[in-house]
């Protein structure tokens, strides 16, 4: 009973805090800071997608960036061709989700072992990287959108007011959208994990043989989780693309490795952890970059190793432990 009340309070606090933050932050922060945080939120959504797939579905996907990049490209191509970003939203979700479904079908129904699954997803991502890199010529175009090879799609349109392709949204409004999308995705995941599907998914992560012997089709559940994760990563790609640009680097090792590190540092098996881990590490990296005497990527590697060794369960579980422990100390030891 008490747990339920605390959970409700947590939800409400998160919801109200999130909405207040969405509207409050741009009012006080500079335009540059607002845009920077929008990017960080897009990548946090990307981390959340892997947190779901890996942390709860038990699917070690080394190629989550494939769906992120496909979402970005799908968004840009759709937005350029429609001259309006309204229908680019579903496109950016459905294209990567469909790709994840097809890839997942081959992997899960082909009974690939976990190691091969990691190898295949990583390889697919790098193939996409090569593929989009080699689209430099003017003949590589989808409708009006030139793919642009190494340089990517030349001017990715920013988000516009629904059904009005000429009314671009302000960076402040886009920031609000990014916060709300991330919150909605987080609540969606929390809800999903409380449904029968979500609980079965977690049980599969724990012991696929037992789940199967209870009568649950492991392959279908994994495929569904992988597809949902692909769609979420695509949505993250959209938010990122409309703010930055679309080029093959989205499929690069950098993104696919970074997102894994964010999830590990934030806390594998949690949802909030990878979000915070992602945002936190992006700012740490940016700050380290300004110092000049240290290579941020090297530092990221050191951070990863330090976490794996000293905080293997990640930041968020540690935080929760500290807080609950602190509360117990305040109330007096021994009372439960």
């Amino acid at each position: 009973m008490r747990a339920r009340r605390w959970r409700l309070i947590g939800f409400l606090a998160l919801l109200l805090g999130g909405v207040a933050f969405a509207f409050g932050f741009p009012a006080f922060a500079s335009l540059h800071a607002t845009i920077q945080l929008t990017n960080a939120l897009a990548l946090a959504l990307f981390a959340l997608s892997l947190a779901l797939v890996w942390g709860f579905g038990g699917i070690l996907c080394f190629g989550q960036a494939a769906f992120f990049g496909l979402g970005a490209y799908a968004y840009a191509i759709a937005a350029i061709n429609f001259g309006d970003t309204t229908f680019a939203w579903p496109t950016a979700i459905l294209v990567p989700a469909a790709f994840a479904a097809a890839l997942g079908y081959f992997m899960f129904y082909g009974r690939l072992s976990d190691v091969y699954l990691g190898v295949v997803t990583l390889t697919v991502t790098l193939i996409l990287f090569q593929l989009f890199n080699s689209t430099a010529g003017p003949e590589y175009r989808i409708g009006d959108a030139r793919l642009g090879g190494f340089n990517g799609i030349p001017s990715t349109p920013p988000l516009n007011v629904p059904f009005d392709g000429r009314a671009y949204l302000s960076p402040e409004s886009i920031f609000v959208i990014a916060v709300l999308v991330l919150l909605a995705a987080l609540f969606g995941c929390l809800w999903l994990l409380r449904t029968r599907f979500g609980r079965v998914l977690v049980s599969i992560r724990e012991n696929p043989l037992r789940a199967e012997l209870l009568g649950y089709d492991v392959r279908v559940h994994k495929l569904a989780a992988f597809t949902i994760g692909g769609g979420m990563a695509g949505l993250a790609g959209l938010l990122f693309a409309q703010n930055v640009l679309v080029n093959p680097a989205l499929f690069s090792l950098l993104y696919t490795a970074q997102v894994i590190i964010w999830v590990i540092v934030g806390g594998l098996g949690t949802l909030v952890g990878p979000i915070l881990g992602s945002i936190g590490l992006q700012y740490v990296m940016a700050w380290l970059g300004t110092l000049g005497w240290i290579n941020p990527n090297l530092a990221l590697g050191v951070i990863l190793v330090a976490f794996v060794l000293f905080v293997p369960r990640g930041l968020w579980p540690l935080l929760v432990k500290v807080v609950t422990h602190g509360r117990r100390l305040v109330r007096g030891n021994g009372t439960s």
């Binding site: 609980r199 977690v202 012991n207 043989l209 209870l214």
Partner: protein, 240 residues
């Protein structure tokens, strides 16, 4: 027996490379019957079970369950037909609470409310309600076995396979388990594999003895256990 069989197995064979673990076994189980399966280590009992539950695909032969030929079906489809198995190596969700383990098992078949009721009822029946909020991975071996048995019966399967359910249990626990199994056997068909002969005597009427992948002898428990051939097999002498 005049009752129609729930399980009819013809010439079931399973080979692993050069090893024939199950060798042309014919086996029939009447609906509602409790059968014990014994035999020395490596006799092929677990392999036989795994062919029934779909964990292994038989090399040849037919497994008819309730009129369906299930040989080669995936495990989840066989489970949905009403087969529950407790594997020899306990297979539970170690990182989840006891209650969640049993709930997941019940929820496959029942709606959310029924599954919760069924779960509470089972925890009480197995006398593990005080452990409901514990992680299964933290429990003692015997308790984990009980949780797994709870999961197996939670969806009311028609055929229950228990592979060494008494292994690692104390005397008291074995006696309680025997009582539980006798109770379940009133409504369900069961096959129980175990090495503990006291336990077998507590629950069995009919016993099948496996040896080197074949059925050595089958019959009433007292007669079978008194059989000279069975004693020889268990003492390690090579008969047949």
């Amino acid at each position: 027996m005049t009752v129609a069989p729930i399980l009819e197995i013809r010439k079931l064979t399973k080979r692993f490379g050069g090893v024939t673990a199950v060798d042309g076994v014919d086996f029939t189980l009447a609906d509602g019957e409790l059968r014990c399966l014994i035999g020395p280590n490596g006799a092929g009992k677990s392999t036989f079970f795994n062919c029934l539950s779909g964990q292994l695909a038989p090399t040849s032969g037919a497994v008819h369950l309730d009129g369906h030929d299930i040989s080669g079906w995936p495990s989840h489809a066989i489970a949905r037909l009403g087969v529950g198995i407790k594997t020899q190596v306990p297979s539970v969700f170690d990182g989840l609470e006891v209650r969640e383990n049993v709930w997941l098992a019940a929820r496959r078949r029942y709606n959310a409310r029924e599954a919760k009721e069924r779960c509470d009822e089972l925890l009480t029946r197995l006398n593990i309600q005080s452990l409901a909020a514990h992680m299964v991975g933290e429990l003692a071996h015997g308790q984990r076995q009980l949780v797994e048995i709870g999961m197996v019966i939670a969806s009311d399967p028609r055929l229950i396979l228990l592979d060494e359910p008494a292994a690692g249990m104390s005397r008291d626990e074995v006696a309680r388990l025997a009582a539980l199994i006798s109770e379940i056997a009133r409504e369900r068909s069961l096959i129980v594999v175990d090495h503990d002969m006291r336990f077998i005597r507590m629950i069995a009427e009919t016993v099948t003895v496996f040896h080197q992948g074949r059925v050595l002898i089958e019959g009433e428990v007292d007669k079978v256990l008194a059989d000279a051939m069975v004693k020889d097999v268990y003492l390690g002498k090579q008969v047949v």
